[in-house]
Symmetry: C2
Subunit: 180 residues, 2 copies
């Protein structure tokens, strides 16, 4: 951030009165610009003994696999965002069955809110952000071609949950996320 989005004049980093963190503050109109973590809402869609993964068509990590997930938008709930991403990336209709993981990535300022979902039919196809979409048995997940550490972490928990026969919520911090 170089300029104030309100008045267009230069900003500088300073700690505002009563605060304890560096913020971008406008030297002209004094507006404080806060930057906060973004939410990535996602869904692990299940069909019988398989889950649906997408091969990314966009950077970062184009060509690698993920479950449907993307930045939540203003005007929707986390659940709506997860459903929207599942339609956009995999053209799949799911019903969300449980909140599965809340995984924070402190270094890059993201929180993944990941639901488990049941596909309402076996229909799916690649959306514009996917090269291909495919059902995988849990024993066939392409672990060495997963796009992000946080996606691997959520999938590992999912596999453990299925092996144990019950879903439990996983809340964790994933410090080593590499984005590019």
């Amino acid at each position: 951030m170089n300029f104030c989005s309100a008045c267009g004049k230069p900003v500088s980093q300073k700690i505002p009165p009563g605060d304890n963190r560096l913020r971008f503050v406008c030297g002209s109109c004094q507006v404080i610009h806060y930057h906060n973590p973004k939410i990535v809402a996602g869904c692990i869609p299940q069909w019988e003994d398989q889950i649906l993964l997408c091969r990314r068509a966009i950077e970062p990590k184009s060509g690698l696999w993920t479950f449907p997930a993307g930045f939540m938008e203003i005007g929707e709930s986390a659940e709506q965002a997860a459903l929207r991403e599942t339609v956009e990336e995999a053209r799949a209709d799911v019903v969300l069955t449980t909140l599965h993981s809340v995984l924070s990535l402190p270094r890059i300022g993201q929180v993944y809110i990941v639901f488990a979902g049941k596909m309402l039919s076996k229909r799916f196809e690649a959306g514009i952000e996917s090269l291909e979409v495919q059902l995988f048995r849990l024993s066939d997940i392409p672990w060495d071609q997963i796009a992000f550490t946080v996606v691997s972490e959520a999938l590992q928990h999912y596999v453990e949950d299925v092996a144990r026969g019950s879903f439990t919520l996983h809340v964790a911090s994933v410090p080593d996320q590499i984005v590019s």
Copy 2:
């Protein structure tokens, strides 16, 4: 948003290629500025059969009650944010016991991530953003003086959980949040 935070030139709202939503786009450097929901991380601190609430010293809703909660910062996890807010607003040390609620406020672009926590001692005092901090029995919660609808919703679920004897995660959308 009136000006590009990268180059300082005016922005306008348009739908970028491949997108389907209006974004602020710089007419000069073409940077797209995304605005996404913010996370409010909070904790319902418990001491024996009571919970700890804070009376807000800041707007909006100064003078009304809430559990400790505030905007999550880049560089921390949701859990760390909830613990930090509990220290800042109520000077209380807690251990988080479970993720209790994930409540979306689509209209204002916020998601509350609320944990239940156990106080490690009965020590607490008002932080700078609180007028006072007080332990309440669940039957004495000041329902008509709660700051936000989303706080009432989380507290109602908490009371129901305690009555039932087990905590269950609540994921919901709270459409009627009034912020001022």
